[in-house]
């Protein structure tokens, strides 16, 4: 093994916790691959010596060239199906002047990578990407300097091709020859210049995501697929509703079942561990049958939800102040007001949450699909009363999560269970009902808008009022945010926070409106809520862009023209204009059988620009409609991987169409009744629209987050299309009654 420095942190505990010195780039330790796979991997790439992160300003924290002929990129961000691995490797390859094919990547792992918080808010390429870009540029400069020193020439005389430095008189040396097995020691000083975009060979080109090749062959890829020798399988039984308490459980009836290793009852936290997965499931079923609960009822029913919001919210937070917006609106040539509502939505990951944990000699290792390994480490420390140096969290791909879903809860529960069975790998997977009923939902929201327009159709004043529960209860260091931590005998208290920010995301119009006021009414609603793709932006853009359409009708101006007229942001205008020409707006079907709806937003008013046109057709069935097509145009600044950007945007469009047309979490006094795919149906292939995405690439601009750009605009576009066909405005989601689904 190559000689490497021990970090200052508690290196020993990491080693013990991980139980191994090397983790290959492949997510699965070689020991658990089939011999043939292991052989293939070995000849290709052996991985890099594992080493704890030593600070963000060291090149080596982001880029390593210590495996012969390979480059390893380290990022604190997680792959969530958004293609971040490929995009970040492209950035590194570009800046280093090496072929993309020799790059590998390690995602969030508290034992190795930088702390980059959560992979959220569409900021991975902006954040991690720019760190990796700078580190790669510095690495290249460092290596050039070494070569220049050796040859006694100036670095201006050097060029790099495919990782080989070319000097005068035919001199050449590869990066790896220079390093000769040593670490790349150098700091990120800011001295290295970033390659100018017109020289880009790799950025801006489509690269295939390597993991897709594995996935089509059914190779182990997900945290769900981890297998360790003598690994045990666990299941948890959650209470029937929030706040219900365990009255009794005859554990003898369970522990006698085949294969059962342990039944855990701690307060109202109930789990079972078995040798085989199916044995755990059988025991889980049995526990559900025989468990007695002291039930706690949900008080506010869905038909009274919005009235309750208005009655029981805190006094509003003035996000944008105005001394007298009412009088400005009243003075306008025309004024209008509307109220929009959206229900609770579910993340509804295809695969229920899963994590593997192992407790050994006071050290804990968790393989987790979390969006943030460091926040997970912090929060587990709080939960277990353990110094965080003794906890290692290794990020693994999960089923797509779209925000704060079950990933952190299931990791914490796996840890709680592992603590009771030291020395064993514990694999916990949630059942479908656990996932549907216990994940934190995207909050229901009510948005009231009021505006005035002048004679020319310019918006003069705008007032927004939002009622919403929190969109952020991520367990950032506070164990009470884990659902099961609240169920323990020594329960952790949950202090709801995270109000505001996420709730008014995108509520402030990007349109040029001189007078505006924005009020936020924070509400504590009946269901558990947290971050769902886009947070408040979904509801706010649905309302805002529906309302813009209403104003356009009022002003008797074409919806494209009306938006352009009220914008002065050139990139926003270009996205809208491009959409208009791509969808051949002038020649649209005006027979009355087709409805068109436009919507636009710049996500967070700071990330990607996105405009979309929805095409809704009348169905032969009286009063029913079909979503035929969605056409989108996106400007994410410098585009790293065009196909990756398209893929993610298409996915967001279909997902948002599903939320908008079909979805609302159902519950009654006894708990959440949306417990599976029959009681919470989502869109399937028969109902998905055709989707088309066009990219406006701006290589000279910085890359902007794109993953959440489509969520809000798609909702408004569908509603606008439907409303134009119905000749009446629809204000409340979902749109199920109108659609043939």
């Amino acid at each position: 093994m190559k000689d490497f420095k021990l970090p200052n942190t508690n290196r020993r505990s990491f080693l013990k916790a991980s139980g191994q010195l090397l983790i290959s780039f492949h997510l699965f330790p070689l020991a658990f691959c089939s011999p043939k796979e292991a052989e293939e991997l070995n000849t290709l790439y052996e991985g890099i010596p594992e080493r704890a992160h030593q600070g963000k300003d060291i090149i080596d924290s982001w880029i390593r060239l210590d495996a012969d002929g390979h480059v390893t990129v380290l990022t604190g961000k997680q792959e969530l199906g958004q293609g971040i691995r490929t995009a970040l490797m492209q950035i590194a390859a570009e800046e280093l002047d090496v072929p993309f094919e020799i790059c590998h990547i390690i995602n969030g792992d508290t034992g190795q990578t930088a702390n980059e918080g959560y992979t959220a808010g569409s900021n991975s390429v902006e954040g991690s990407g720019s760190a990796i870009r700078q580190a790669a540029a510095e690495a290249r400069l460092y290596l050039l300097k070494e070569a220049a020193k050796e040859w006694g020439v100036s670095i201006d005389q050097l060029e790099v091709k495919d990782g080989v430095i070319l000097g005068p008189e035919g001199k050449k040396i590869s990066y790896w020859e220079i390093l000769d097995g040593k670490f790349l020691e150098g700091n990120i000083t800011g001295e290295a210049k970033i390659k100018s975009p017109e020289k880009h060979q790799i950025i801006g080109k489509t690269f295939q995501r390597a993991e897709i090749l594995d996935m089509v062959q059914g190779k182990a890829h997900f945290v769900h697929d981890l297998r360790f020798p003598d690994m045990l399988h666990a299941r948890v039984v959650h209470p029937p509703s929030y706040g219900s308490k365990l009255k009794s459980l005859d554990t003898d009836l369970i522990s006698g079942m085949a294969g059962i290793e342990k039944v855990i009852v701690d307060g109202s936290f109930v789990a079972v561990v078995a040798k085989r997965e199916y044995q755990a499931i059988k025991a889980w079923q049995k526990i559900k049958e025989i468990c007695q609960w002291e039930k706690s009822e949900i008080k506010v029913m869905s038909d009274a939800l919005f009235a309750d919001m208005e009655r029981n919210s805190n006094s509003p937070q003035e996000v944008e102040k105005h001394p007298n917006i009412k009088s400005v609106i009243d003075k306008a040539t025309r004024s209008h007001q509307s109220i929009y509502r959206k229900p609770y939505h579910m993340h509804g990951s295809t695969g229920p949450g899963c994590a593997v944990a192992k407790w050994e000699n006071q050290n804990l290792t968790v393989w987790s699909p979390t969006q943030g390994v460091y926040p997970l480490q912090n929060t587990l420390a709080d939960l277990l009363g353990l110094e965080k140096e003794y906890i290692r969290c290794i990020g693994m791909p999960g089923s797509g999560c779209y925000g704060h879903n079950s990933a952190d809860d299931v990791s914490a529960e796996a840890a709680l269970i592992a603590k009771q069975l030291p020395g064993k790998h514990i694999r916990l997977q949630w059942m479908r009902g656990n996932e549907h009923q216990w994940e934190p939902y995207g909050s229901a929201m009510q948005i009231a808008l009021e505006a005035g327009i002048d004679q020319e159709g310019k918006i003069t004043a705008w007032k927004t009022q939002i009622w919403s529960d929190t969109h952020s209860t991520r367990p950032n260091g506070r164990a009470g945010h884990y659902i099961s931590a609240r169920h323990l005998e020594n329960a952790f208290e949950f202090q709801k926070g995270g109000f505001s920010g996420g709730s008014y995301r995108n509520a402030s119009p990007l349109y040029t409106i001189p007078d505006r006021k924005l009020l936020l009414h924070n509400y504590e609603g009946p269901l558990r809520t947290s971050a769902l793709r886009g947070l408040g932006a979904y509801g706010n853009i649905f309302a805002l862009e529906s309302f813009i359409d209403e104003l356009a009708v009022l002003a008797e101006i074409d919806p494209f023209e009306f938006r352009i007229k009220n914008l002065d942001n050139p990139r926003a205008i270009e996205v809208i204009k491009t959409l208009k020409s791509k969808c051949n707006w002038e020649n649209r079907d005006q027979s009355g059988r087709v409805g068109y709806g436009l919507a636009f937003a710049q996500y967070k008013n700071s990330a990607s620009y996105y405009a979309v046109l929805a095409e809704v057709h009348k169905s032969p069935k009286e009063g029913k409609f079909r979503l035929h097509k969605l056409t989108g145009v996106i400007d994410s600044g410098q585009c790293i991987n065009p196909d990756g950007l398209k893929n993610q945007t298409e996915g967001g469009m279909i997902q948002s169409a599903s939320w908008t047309i079909m979805e609302a979490v159902q519950y009654d006094a006894n708990g959440v009744t949306s417990k599976d795919w029959n009681s919470y149906p989502i869109m399937r292939t028969n109902d998905v629209p055709e989707v088309e995405v066009h990219i406006i690439n701006r290589p000279e601009e910085k890359p902007l987050g794109a993953g959440e750009a489509a969520q809000g605009p798609v909702a408004a576009a569908i509603v606008n299309a439907l409303s134009s066909l119905l000749e009446k405005r629809v204000y409340e989601l979902p749109l199920k009654e109108y659609f043939e689904v």
Binding site: L80, G81, Q82, G83, Q208, R209, E211, I212, L213, M215, V216, Q217, G218, K219, A220, H221, F222, H224, R227, A258, R276, E277, Y278, I281, H347, G348, S349, T350, G351, P352, P397, G398, S399, G400, Y402, Q429, M431, R432, D643, G644, N647, Q648, E650, G651, G652, M653, I654, Q655, A657, S658, D676, W677, N678, I682, M683, R684, T685, N686, V688, V691
Partner: protein, 154 residues
């Protein structure tokens, strides 16, 4: 405990199991095949599909004894030597995956469809993939990928 035998990816297999145990767990835990996934355990999402005598069937509920004597193919068995199955190839070419958790169900259903109908219409493709839950919204790419292989030799 009971002895169950079937063909799995071309090989005869015999196992001693609880005859009630659904095939999914046997594939994953006994044979260490990771392709078929647990999604719901309720036959609602098709994450757990395999081919049984060319038909795509879910494996998360039916007791394994109902597979006695059957010819089972999993996603791992589709590749011929070093050559990907044309549907696998098309999925890669179309980059038809986001998180990829649903991929098993999509692929298995597509192969089953194309074995019985090598030139399906768009409606037939959609119908054949309709039972599979894909929360990432990758549907349009799956449809495209299947179209691409239609009429080529499956």
């Amino acid at each position: 405990m009971k002895t169950i035998s079937f063909q799995l990816n071309g090989k005869n297999q015999e196992i001693q199991v609880d005859p009630e145990e659904p095939l999914l767990y046997i594939l994953r835990d006994e044979f260490e095949l990771s392709g078929a996934k647990f999604g719901c355990g309720l036959q609602q999402c098709s994450a757990c599909m395999v081919l049984v005598d060319d038909q795509a069937v879910p494996t998360c509920l039916s007791p394994c004894e109902t597979f006695q004597g059957k010819n089972i193919e999993t996603i791992e068995g589709l590749k011929q030597g070093n050559k990907l199955h044309p549907v696998q190839e098309a999925f890669v070419e179309e980059q038809a995956a986001q998180c990829g958790y649903c991929l098993n169900g999509m692929l298995i259903s597509a192969v089953s469809l194309l074995r019985s109908n090598n030139n399906p219409s768009e409606e037939e493709i959609k119908e054949a993939l309709n039972s599979i839950i894909c929360r990432c919204g990758t549907h349009s790419r799956f449809i495209k990928a299947v179209k691409k292989v239609s009429s080529s030799n499956i």
